[in-house]
């Protein structure tokens, strides 16, 4: 159920998991769009030569996935703040899952705090943080 008002939000609830498009094609297009033309975002073999496990998803794209998950749950939510820690690379063409859990509700200001995480198929946390949204 999409969240329409603060009364729909429950403390501790899990947001519906979101599967991002981490295909190399999407990652390449995004990196080019923002002017990050490095091979580490567009070519698995070139990234491996740089010591990475494969081509990386830019951190700001992971941040965008996290916000999209929140809008998928609460379409009219206004993002007030999002803070993300890049713990380990998110690798293109690998399956990842975006999750969130409501950790605080401020009824006076209509603000909701959400812990947010990007994990890979092994369940390893790659990116985590918090978001504050107005609903």
């Amino acid at each position: 159920m999409a969240i329409a008002s603060l009364s729909d939000v429950e403390f501790g609830e899990d947001l519906p998991a979101f599967t991002p498009d981490t295909s190399l094609e999407t990652v390449k297009t995004f990196a080019s769009l923002v002017g990050w033309g490095g091979a580490r975002f567009s070519d698995h073999e070139a990234a491996k030569k740089e010591g990475l496990p494969g081509a990386m998803v830019p951190g700001i794209l992971s941040q965008g996935y996290l916000v999209s998950m929140i809008h998928n749950w609460a379409p009219e939510a206004e993002i007030r703040a999002i803070d993300t820690i890049f713990r380990a690379p998110v690798i293109a063409d690998e399956e990842h899952k975006i999750t969130g859990v409501v950790t605080d509700i401020n009824e006076d200001e209509h603000l909701v705090e959400i812990d947010i995480t990007v994990t890979n198929a092994k369940g390893e946390t790659r990116v985590f943080g918090t978001a504050t949204v107005k609903i």
Partner: protein
């Protein structure tokens, strides 16, 4: 706090060292939103009456430099994270100004030695001087031993 870091904080924190203007293009923000997985018309449809850049779009806008020109070189920096604060929507078709300052400098010490964290903050303003958003870039530098 280490004395050298305290000295850096006194010298550099909250002093603007860069300003750059950015043209916010509708086709770029809409594509940015689509690639992130947004589905709402206000981010994707240029004809939507509330058309705006997705909230984290500003994280893709950088200044001409991330640190003051005379900031000491401790080692190679790595991207440790990003933060965004949104105050007003960013409207495509507008030109916004980004002013950069160092917002924080701190350290953590682990088994491999001291790591220095810097947080560069870009404050974005529209042409009327309205403060639209902040974008923080956290860089970690493993100190050369």
């Amino acid at each position: 706090m280490d004395q050298d870091i305290e000295t850096l904080r006194e010298k550099y924190l909250n002093q603007d060292f860069d300003e750059k203007t950015h043209e916010v293009k509708a086709e770029v923000t809409a594509e940015y939103a689509r690639l992130c997985g947004e589905t709402a018309a206000r981010f994707l449809d240029v004809n939507d009456p509330d058309f705006q850049a997705p909230p984290t779009f500003i994280a893709s806008l950088s200044g001409r430099r991330a640190l003051p020109s005379d900031f000491p070189k401790f080692g190679i920096g790595m991207d440790a994270g990003k933060g965004v604060e949104c105050f007003l929507p960013i409207r495509p078709g507008s030109t916004i100004a980004g002013r950069t300052h160092l917002h924080d400098i701190y350290t953590k010490t682990g088994r491999s030695g001291r790591m220095i964290f810097t947080v560069s903050r870009i404050e974005f303003y529209d042409d009327k001087g309205n403060h639209l958003a902040n974008s923080d870039s956290r860089i970690v530098i493993r100190e050369k031993s």
